[in-house]
Each structure stands twice: as structure tokens, then as C-alpha cells.
């Protein structure tokens, strides 16, 4: 198919091609990951050495205070760290990049259902991220009310003046619209554009994860969008939806309403972020055990169950809020039921490894890393679900440790698994396995050191979001741990340099990648690396599922591609 020559701008910048858009999301996400990570290091420095000037970068970042963090700057650091990591790092990498890149290829389509909408969704993210960056430089600085934007700290300009706060909310709102547009494309493409023979039972687990994630986004993002608009109205239009008591301009609204709205989205959001990872891990464990994904159907149903349950457990974030305690008890009971489907697909992961022929490639290492850290993250979730125990550990570092094990650890390892696995397909080059293994090993070590340390201090009562623990007598014994965590965090940060170096060098000078370096069975691996502009010459025809590895009757290798006609008789899916 001949095309008129297109300019650099139309091909690589304002492109409607899902593969280009995916790379745009990836690069943006990686950039913000670095930024969010840097902020984490600043936070850990301040906690380890309160009010001490930061070496190397201190004078540049905090000129007014001789290079040290200030009480006004500290809340900005943890607010922006959270907001950036959730919405501008992880979401663009796992949903934006992985979703955009893999979905059309894996369903056998030439592009997404709505390519122009797709392009718009990236540029909205870009705009949102620019607004966030600008917020650092307005008078009053960036937002400082925590990424959870609790009212009335957020909704009253009397306590939180400054346009930086409004810009944060605006940036998030634009990102929300971007994600909704993306989700629309993902749902439509996965459901409607699958190649002939690609029934839902033959869909890669990664795409199931992305689908469920998009459904949750479609349902719950609008709720938080409504809440955020109401916060903006409270701030600038004199309303009092979420302001009450002495701060309210008139009789006032209900402060807790904000929390219900926010967590009504906020809880599904954590599943939005992890579902694609669960899917990816399911696929990777299969590819690199050379064995079908164990209990595929049960896994798909379990993920669906969790998707549904995620919408009715939000109150477990509010046990200390003053909410009716019996309602709290109900939320506790609902929350623990999530253990059942989680245990099922977790066991299925182990079932995939069982009697496999395991290849410890770099993507596999990260997938296995997810299994390990998610076990910890998931199990510590149980501690948080118990109403009485949670009331003690609420707003302590125990919670921070829990969600970093499930987010920073599991989701981050998932993001790295995605990148290491798909890099050859996306860029047509291979990354260095040695650097990849080193990156994994060091990250795994430091990550566990940092976040298990948080469990320790959290159990002792160390609160979140405080700039200096030495103010409190009961926390003085924990200060040594803050120092330990700080240095481990530095180690974690430095280890990521191995990744950046590997990524950039492989982009420029990596070995050429074959079409299917991993001997994977799904549709994306039947085309070249990188794929042709419109992916497939002719619409692929599918005869089996994506996990046909270890098929006994084969003599030329141990796997069948989804497009292999022999699968019609040899495969069991």
C-alpha cells in the first residue's frame, strides 16, 4: 500500500499510529518515573537527616534555605511524588505504553479502533504533565495537600492558597480525560476488533488485565473527576461542598463526602494499576516456563471477580474517619473476600511454573520478582483490612510499606518486565541481558530493604507525611531505621541507572532483534521487529490460544503460534 511521503512531524510526533503513541507514552512515563524517584530520594534524605542541607543538589533545589528541605517544601515533595508516580509514570508506562503497543498487535488489528482519539489522549497527558511541572514555579509553589487531595485542606484557599494547588488538580483532571479516552479505545479494540478465531478464551492474559483495567477506569474516573471539580469550585467559586465547621463560608457541606468520592475511585485505581501487571505476569510465566498458563479460565474469572469487588471496598481507607463503625465492619468483611480470587490466580501462577522448563530471562526475573513482592504486598493488605488493627496503623508507614510493595515493587517490576520483554519488538533491538540481571538483582535487594524497613517503623507508630520524626519522643528509636531506609533508597535509585543506561545504549547500538526472540505464541510475535506500519499484511487467522507451549506431538520446537493451522488439531485451547 503506497503512502504519500509524510513529514517528520506527522510520522513521529503527531502520529495516529498506536506504536508511535505507545513510545511517546513510554518515554514520558520513564521521564516522570525518574522525577518521582528523585523526589522520593529527597523525602528519604529529609527523614534520615532532618533539615540538613542535601549534598550535591541541595543549593540548586532549595536556595533559600541553604540547600535543605523546608517545612513548606516537604508536603510538596510527597504530594508531587505520589501524584507523579501514580498518574504520570506508572499509568503512562503500563496503561498508555503497554496498552497502546500490545493491544492492536495481539488482537490482530492494524491499529486501535479510534486512532485520532488515541493521538488526542496522548497529547492531553502531555498537557497535563506540563501543567504539573509549571505548578512548581508559580508563587506558593506546587500543591502540598497530599496526592489524595483531602478536603478541607485542599478545598479551602484559606489554608491552602496558591495556584499551584489548583494546577495540580487541573493536571490530574486532564490526565483523567486522557485515560478515559485511552480506555475507550482499549475496550472497543479488544472486544470488537479481534482477528477471526481469536475468541475471548484465546486472548493473552495481558489483554484481559488491560481490559479490566480500562473498564474500571471508565466507571470510576468520572467519580473522582466530579469530586475534583467540586474541590476547584470550593477553592475558587465560593462553594462549600467539602468545607464544614469554622472554615465554611456558610452552613457548609460534608467533609467526609470527599473521601467517599475519592476512595470510590481511589480503591479501584490501585487495581487499575495492578491488573495489567497480573495479566502480564500470567503470560510471561507461561512463555518462560514453556507451558500453558495454568488455569487460564479460572484466572480470567478471578480477575473479573476482583474487578467487581474492587468497587465496593473503598471504606477500608476510612476506618478512622468518623464513619459509622458498623459500616466499617462491613467494609472489612468485603475487603477480605478479595483474598479468594487473588489466591486462586496466585496458585495458578505457581501451577504454571510447576513441571515447566523454566528459562530465567530478564523479563522472567522481573515477573518472578512480581510474584515475590506481590505476595508480601497482598498479605500485608490483610493487616490493613482488619478494622481494629488498621486503626492503629492507619496513617503510619506500615500502610506506606504495604502500598509500595504492591505499587512501587509489583507495579514497577511489572513495568520493567513489560519493557524488557517488548523492547525487541518495539525497537527492533535487544537489551543487554547482563545489565538487565544486575538491574534486577540490585533493585530486588534494595527494594526489599527500603520497604520492609517501612513496616518496622510503621508498627512502632511512625506517622506518614511528617517531615521530621525526631519531634516525637516515641519515634526517636526509629530514627536509625530512617537512616537505613534512606541509604537503601539511594541504592535503589542508583540501581535504576543501570536500566536507563541499558535502555539508551540498546536503542542506539543494540543487536538487531529477530521477529520472535522469546519464541512466544501470540500474534504480535508473528510479525517483524519492529512491525510493519500497519502491523499485518493480511488479517491473521487464529487457531488456538497464546500459550501453546510444550505441545507433545511437535518435532520442530516446543510451541505453536496462534496462527499455526496445525494447532487446530494439536492444541487444546
Amino acid at each position: 500500500m503506497a503512502h504519500p511521503p509524510r513529514s517528520f512531524w506527522r510520522r513521529y510526533v503527531f502520529s495516529t499510529n498506536h506504536k508511535v503513541i505507545a513510545v511517546q507514552y513510554l518515554l514520558t512515563g520513564i521521564l516522570f518515573l525518574a522525577m518521582g524517584g528523585l523526589m522520593a530520594l529527597l523525602i528519604r534524605w529529609q527523614l534520615a537527616y532532618p533539615w540538613q542541607p542535601i549534598p550535591l543538589v541541595g543549593k540548586l533545589l532549595f536556595p533559600g534555605s541553604g540547600g535543605a528541605v523546608t517545612p513548606e517544601a516537604y508536603p510538596m515533595l510527597f504530594t508531587m511524588h505520589g501524584g507523579i508516580m501514580v498518574f504520570f509514570a506508572i499509568t503512562p508506562i503500563l496503561l498508555g505504553a503497554m496498552g497502546n503497543y500490545t493491544i492492536p498487535l495481539e488482537v490482530g488489528a492494524r491499529d486501535m479502533a479510534f486512532p485520532r482519539l488515541n493521538m488526542l489522549s496522548y497529547w492531553l497527558l502531555f498537557l497535563g504533565s506540563m501543567i504539573l511541572l509549571v505548578s512548581f514555579f508559580v508563587p506558593g509553589g506546587a500543591a502540598g495537600f497530599g496526592w489524595t487531595i483531602y478536603a478541607p485542606l485542599s478545598s479551602s484557599t484559606e489554608v491552602s492558597p496558591g495556584w499551584g494547588q489548583d494546577l495540580f488538580i487541573l493536571g490530574l483532571a486532564l490526565d483523567a480525560v486522557s485515560i478515559l479516552m485511552g480506555g475507550l479505545n482499549y475496550i472497543t479494540t479488544i472486544m470488537q476488533l479481534r482477528a477471526p478465531g481469536l475468541t475471548l478464551r484465546r486472548l493473552p492474559l495481558t489483554l484481559w488485565g488491560l481490559f479490566y483495567s480500562a473498564v474500571l477506569n471508565t466507571l470510576w474516573l468520572p467519580i473522582v473527576a466530579a469530586a475534583l471539580f467540586m474541590v476547584l469550585c470550593d477553592r475558587r467559586l465560593g462553594t462549600a461542598f467539602f468545607v464544614a465547621g469554622p472554615l465554611a463560608p456558610h452552613s457548609g457541606g460534608q467533609v467526609l463526602l470527599y473521601q467517599h468520592l475519592f476512595w470510590g475511585f481511589g480503591h479501584p485505581e490501585v487495581y487499575i494499576l495492578i491488573l495489567p501487571v497480573w495479566g502480564l505476569v500470567g503470560d510471561l510465566l507461561s512463555v518462560f516456563s514453556r507451558k500453558p498458563a495454568f488455569g487460564y479460565k479460572a484466572t480470567v474469572v478471578s480477575m473479573l471477580t476482583i474487578t467487581i469487588l474492587s468497587g465496593i471496598v473503598w471504606g477500608h481507607h476510612m476506618f478512622t474517619s468518623g464513619m459509622n463503625p458498623l459500616v466499617g465492619k462491613a467494609f472489612m468483611i468485603l475487603t477480605i473476600t478479595i483474598s479468594v480470587p487473588t489466591a486462586i490466580f496466585f496458585l495458578n501462577w505457581l501451577g504454571t511454573l510447576w513441571r515447566g522448563a523454566i528459562r530465567l530471562t530478564v523479563p522472567m526475573l522481573f515477573a518472578l520478582g512480581v510474584v515475590f513482592v506481590f505476595a508480601i504486598g497482598g498479605l500485608t493488605g490483610l493487616f490493613n483490612a482488619l478494622q481494629v488493627f488498621d486503626i492503629y496503623i492507619h496513617d503510619t508507614y506500615f500502610v506506606v510499606g504495604h502500598f509500595h510493595y504492591t505499587l512501587a515493587a509489583s507495579v514497577l517490576f511489572g513495568a520493567y518486565a513489560f519493557i524488557y520483554y517488548w523492547f525487541p519488538k518495539i525497537f527492533g533491538r535487544q537489551m543487554s541481558p547482563l545489565l538487565g540481571r544486575l538491574h534486577f538483582g540490585l533493585s530486588f535487594l534494595f527494594l526489599n530493604a527500603v520497604f520492609s524497613g517501612m513496616f518496622v517503623v510503621g508498627l512502632h507508630g511512625h506517622m506518614r507525611r511528617i517531615a521530621d520524626a525526631t519531634t516525637y519522643e516515641f519515634l526517636k528509636p526509629m530514627q536509625a531505621w530512617n537512616v537505613w531506609i534512606g541509604w537503601a533508597a539511594l541504592g535503589l535509585g542508583l540501581s535504576q541507572l543501570l536500566f536507563f543506561h541499558n535502555f539508551v545504549r540498546s536503542l542506539l547500538k543494540g543487536k538487531t532483534a529477530p521477529a520472535n526472540p522469546w519464541q512466544a505464541g501470540s500474534l504480535a510475535w508473528t510479525v517483524s521487529s519492529p512491525p510493519p506500519e500497519h502491523n499485518f499484511e493480511a488479517r491473521p487467522r487464529v487457531f488456538c490460544g497464546p500459550h501453546e507451549y510444550g505441545v507433545p506431538e511437535l518435532t520442530d520446537g516446543d510451541w505453536l503460534s496462534q496462527t499455526d493451522p496445525r494447532a487446530a488439531t494439536l492444541a487444546k485451547s
Partner: protein, 195 residues
């Protein structure tokens, strides 16, 4: 035989065009957005004391008229779709324009209503009821405005002969959006003014 045939059979979830599917997904997020706003209104109203009687503040007859205007515009939208499906180009253009004009009328009446109430001291910041009223109707009005812009675009496209009995998808999907805004208004009218 069955397996080979499988490799040739498409199996989309629903047997509808992509555009329609996409519009429904979009409408689901819109439904959730208004659920968030309306749900908040209900919670705030039920949880407060001294909530004024709406009919003492709002111009219910005028808003009732506006409801009729919007409902009529849904009718003209249905007629526009029918015209497209029957390849009646002039009728299509006429009904699209009429729908847009009715939408603009709705917005005009709304604007007049707003100004009138501002002068009487009922603003977004004068009371919780005011905040809820302007939030809900304001967002709704923005959606009507987007719909009007969409309709004007469709009108110009129709004038250039882009639609036919074989190609009327965009009219249909836009109609879905338009009817949705209409339904939202009926709900808002009921819970803001009548209850």
C-alpha cells in the same frame, strides 16, 4: 472442519459498528460522572438541615418550558436520523439544524434564568442549594453546548452530502449522545425543582 472454520469467523462481543460501541462506552463514563454529581447532591441535601423549598427560589414554569424544548429537540433528532436512513438529504439538514436551534434555545433560556436568579441573590456561593444547583445545571449546560457544536458540525457535513442511507452512523451515535443529555436534564429537573 469446525476448527478450520473457527479461524475464519470473527467474534466481536456485540454485532454493532465500532462507532456505536465506542459511543456507548463513552456514555457509560458520562453516566458515572453525573452519578457522582447527582449522588453528591442527594447526600448533601439529605444530610443538611434547613434546605429551602426549591419552588420558592427556582422558576419552575420556565424550567418546565425548557424541558419541553429539550424533549422536542430529541424528537427532531430522531426525525433527522430517520431522514438519513431514508436518504432524504434536505430533511436531514433541516432536522439537524432544528435540533441545534432548539439546543441553543435551551441554553438561551437557561442563561436568562441564571441572570435573573443572580440578580435575586441566588448564586453558586450563596448557599449549599445554590452550589448544587449551578454545579449540576452548569455541567449539563456544558454538555448541551458540546452537543450543539457537534450538531452544527453534522449539519455542515450533511450539507456536503457526507451522509446517506448507507452511511448514517455518525448521525445515530450523535443522536445517542443527544438523547442522553435530554434524559439527564429530565432527571435534574425532577430532583432539583420538583422534589
Amino acid at each position: 472442519m469446525e476448527h478450520v472454520a473457527e479461524g475464519t469467523v470473527e467474534s466481536p462481543l456485540l454485532d454493532i459498528p465500532v462507532g456505536k460501541f465506542g459511543m456507548w462506552v463513552f456514555l457509560i463514563s458520562e453516566i458515572m460522572f453525573f452519578t457522582g454529581l447527582i449522588g453528591s447532591y442527594i447526600v448533601l441535601r439529605l444530610g443538611s438541615t434547613g434546605w429551602p423549598q426549591p419552588r420558592t427560589i427556582l422558576n419552575t414554569p420556565l424550567l418546565g418550558l425548557n424541558t419541553v424544548v429539550l424533549l422536542s429537540s430529541s424528537l427532531t433528532m430522531v426525525l433527522a436520523l430517520a431522514a438519513a436512513q431514508q436518504d432524504r438529504q434536505r430533511a436531514l439538514q433541516r432536522y439537524l439544524l432544528l435540533t441545534a436551534l432548539l439546543g441553543l434555545t435551551f441554553l438561551g433560556i437557561k442563561g436568562y434564568d441564571y441572570v435573573h436568579m443572580w440578580h435575586r441573590g441566588f448564586t453558586i456561593s450563596s448557599s449549599l442549594f445554590g452550589s448544587c444547583y449551578y454545579l449540576l445545571t452548569g455541567f449539563h449546560a456544558l454538555h448541551v453546548l458540546s452537543g450543539v457544536i457537534l450538531l452544527l458540525y453534522l449539519f455542515t457535513a450533511a450539507s456536503r452530502g457526507l451522509f446517506s442511507a448507507a452511511n448514517y452512523g455518525r448521525i445515530e451515535y450523535s443522536g445517542l449522545y443527544w438523547h442522553f443529555i435530554d434524559i439527564v436534564w429530565v432527571m435534574l429537573f425532577a430532583i432539583l425543582c420538583l422534589v
